[in-house]
Amino acid sequence: MRKEKTLLFEMGSPGRRGCSLPDCDVPEKPLDDLLPARLRRRQPLDLPELSEGELIRHYTALSRRNHGVDSGFYPLGSCTMKYNPKINEDIAVLPGFAYLHPCQDDCTVQGALELLYRAEAGLKEVTGMDRITFQPVAGAQGELTGLMLIQAYHRARNEERRKVLIPDSAHGTNPASAAMSGFEVVQIPSDARGLVDLEKLKEALGPDTAALMLTNPNTLGLFEADIMEIAAAVHEVGGLLYYDGANLNAVMGFARPGDMGFDVVHLNLHKTFATPHGGGGPGSGVVGVKERLVPYLPLPLVEKGEQGYYFNYDLPLSIGKVHGFHGNFGVVVKAYTYMCMMGAAGLKQASADAVLNANYLMRRLKKNYALTHDRPCKHEFVLSAVDQKKQGVAAGDIAKALLDYGFHPPTVYFPLIVEEALMVEPTETESMETLDRFAEAMEEIARLVKEDPARVTGAPYTTPVGRLDEVRAVRQLRVRWTPESE
């Protein structure tokens, strides 16, 4: 029984208050003296008017129309939707972290600076890099920052290298970030193994190559075994190697980008280091670099001096700032707490279990769904619904059918190089029973595709709304409520 949820603007009535503020405790001056009429707002501010209780009911009802990792299995490929430990939430809201101003004098924030210093030490060890900046606030911004560092490196050698090479399997943010930092994108095809085509790469490499952006394991969940050759080839032409760290959850303790020849790395703390995805953020895309790129890092960096920790602004070659202040400190606090509890053995076991869970699930699902690369995968694998498509059932339909089983579907239609892609990443925080239940659901859907395809293409049936018309949402664009739209 589907019930529409009213919008905030269709509720409440004039005069209701959701919050109480103190009276003014200073002698008040006439408004005209402080803010002349000509600078004053004319149009009414018609925000909703509701009591606290009504607002809480509204958002409680909205929350029950939403699925999170705590609601059920969330195998969204490439997003590493692992469980978010609750202690991290409690630590991040401590006034000693949440109520610090970024411009406070270093001597008043020694605890925060020490946390950043220790977090950097840990992430350096996990990645094999030499220095870390916490300023980039998401993976995409980490890519932008990394490419800016690469640009500064080449420009310091007065080389204006124009091209950034990116595998066709890379995440959309890679080419977008390259474009945003003024580079020309050269797409490198994958070979039959689903890995970077070494020949094609070598052909594309040249004096104009600024960098190769690589995700390892790649977005097919396969380790780029030729990495050492690739690194050598790129460095040979004077290019640099960029590591998209979104898939680091597959190799912690097993392999480090720093040892694979990468010059600059971004990590997604909201993926690998278990900070919550927040409905689409906030995340943190910290960037690690090898020695040669350190001079160009955004300022300031955290240093440990005799009188304690301090922000070092004395970086003459720094590219400056990519964020108003010091990045998403609140997210780093959660990731640091996670690292403290996992330790070296724990992080390695997390990767081992993530890879084990992925291979276990792949083994079961490949009975009913095409698997382009049928060999052990890393932390994720990509199925193809090409067989199902023959019955008129696309990957997207399979995803919608999964909603009725209480599972969040895998990523669909990415990577683009797999037709009707279904990218599955279970992560290490799922139990064997959950993997089995998910496999049973996928097997039942595969059976339905054969016996009653319409049942699948009509899904979902149990969600708060039926299948939504995405085309109409573009054609009849409505991106805000307006009184007329009543």
């Binding site: 972290f97 202040f325 709304v465």
Partner: protein, 449 residues
């Protein structure tokens, strides 16, 4: 081994699973990692802590910071100590919101999608603009993305930036622009306000936009009438960074022809958190919607005609347009936008007006008392909101050290970014500063030798 309570697989299950997939040990699954790259031994990390020990360690780190609840802070400059109603964190603390990811599967994400749609609506109501996105990283990157968008819309590659815009924002803009080979030209200030003659002289056929901040970094509300017309006549756009808490009282950006409105939304329901996570809000006119960076939620219907919400205009975004996307942004500041939406709905029109009035009156009260102190001067004449610049009788560093000893966080030291002002600091007074705290500040200022 600590952290085990986040790893449900037992040893028995690991071996059963390995058997099922025909591998002897986990290492068999890592044979594709070339030996030269295999990490040998254990990573050199501190010994793992139990939850009890980790809590102790983190509490001790937190306790070694002086936080805004332990003292009276007059620091602003882009991050503010505004009151946060308790209910905000009781909404963002619902796991269905904070453990979900981007609402790709709309039918299972109507909670996040409707919350984004309502957030977008309230940002439009606040700014007067016609379309807003789901959120960007912070005020600085939002302004930079607004400038990049202006270049894309006008097909031009230069923007004019007032020196009155935050130095942090200008640094990020500079960085974003020089990476893409776009140019920024800084316009000087006179008496703390953008030099209108300089603007008129600089605006030409090659200018994509004029970028200003209102209030500007000195706290002044600059006159804006006529600016937009001047720009539009030359085919250029007006791009602004605004303080959302001023908008219940101050002209909405749409009321003076602004094309792209950005700003820092941290002050609406989010703690300062040492400068992050913050909230970049972004709004524009109907005609530029398809050029807007970031995610956008839109309304539609399901097959029974029931209302629902989806991510719309996704073709502009990186996961589809890749290098031709309007922006590379993927994860944004969704939970901080949710906090801002709950804040705006809880405050309502009357509450937002009250907060703005409290800031206006308290800042004016502080300004008047400081101006009366000998040795101190309000650097610029003009209309202020909640921040103002004060010329000091001693270096801001020295003054602030003295204030700290009296449990006061003094104003932001302007000398490093605006040497032309000599010794000056930017003071901020919000609704959370009591009269007693302001009076204590004034007394402490008096005490300079």
């Amino acid at each position: 081994m600590s952290g085990r309570h986040f790893l449900p697989l037992t040893d028995a299950e690991r071996s059963a699973m390995l058997k099922r997939i025909g591998a002897d040990s986990v290492d068999d699954l890592f044979l594709d990692v070339p030996a030269a790259v295999r990490f040998q031994g254990e990573m050199q990390l501190p010994p793992a802590l139990s939850e009890l020990e980790a809590a102790g360690h983190l509490h001790s780190l937190a306790a070694r910071n002086k936080n805004l609840r332990d003292c009276a802070s007059f620091l602003g400059a882009g991050v503010y100590d505004h009151f946060i109603p308790s209910m905000v964190r009781h909404v963002t603390g619902r796991s269905e919101f904070y453990t979900a990811y981007t609402p790709y599967q709309a039918e299972m994400s109507q909670g996040v999608l409707q919350a984004i749609f309502e957030y977008q609506t309230m940002i439009c109501q606040l700014t007067g603009m016609e379309a807003a996105n789901a959120s960007l990283y912070d005020g600085a990157t939002a302004l930079a993305e607004g400038a990049v968008m202006a270049c894309a819309v006008t097909g031009r590659s230069k923007v004019l930036v007032s020196r009155g815009v935050s130095p942090f924002y200008r640094a990020v803009l500079q960085n974003y622009f020089q990476a893409r080979g776009l140019q920024t030209e800084e316009l000087p200030c006179r008496d703390g306000q953008t030099d209108r003659d300089a603007v008129e002289k600089a605006v030409g056929g090659d200018v994509a936009a004029l970028i200003q901040q209102r209030p500007n970094f000195f706290g002044l509300l600059e006159e804006m009438d006529g600016v937009a017309d001047l720009l539009h006549k030359q085919g250029a756009l007006l791009v602004l960074s605004v303080d959302p808490l001023s908008l219940p009282l101050v002209q909405a950006p749409a009321e003076y022809g602004t094309d792209i409105v950005t700003g820092e939304g941290q002050g609406m329901g989010n703690p300062p958190s040492f400068g992050g996570p913050l909230l970049g809000f972004f709004a524009t006119r109907e005609k530029y919607i398809r050029r807007m960076p970031g995610r956008i939620a839109g309304e539609t219907v399901d097959h029974d005609g029931g209302r629902g919400f989806v991510l719309t205009l996704q073709t502009r975004e990186q996961h589809i347009r890749r290098e031709r996307a309007t922006s590379n942004i993927c994860s944004n500041q969704a939970l901080n936008a949710l906090a801002a939406a709950v804040y705006l709905a809880a405050m309502g029109p009357a509450g937002m007006r009250e907060v703005a009035l409290l800031c206006l009156q308290k800042a004016a009260y502080a300004r008047e008392k400081i101006a009366a102190l000998d040795g101190y001067r309000i650097t610029f004449p003009g209309v202020y909101f909640k921040e103002f610049t004060v010329s000091l009788p001693e270096a801001a560093r020295t003054l602030n050290r003295r204030l700290l000893s009296q449990n006061i966080l003094g104003g932001f030291d302007l000398s490093k970014y605006y040497p032309e002002l000599g010794e000056a600091a930017l003071f901020c007074v919000t609704e959370t500063r009591t009269r007693a705290e302001i009076d204590t500040l004034v007394q402490a200022l008096e005490g300079w030798s």
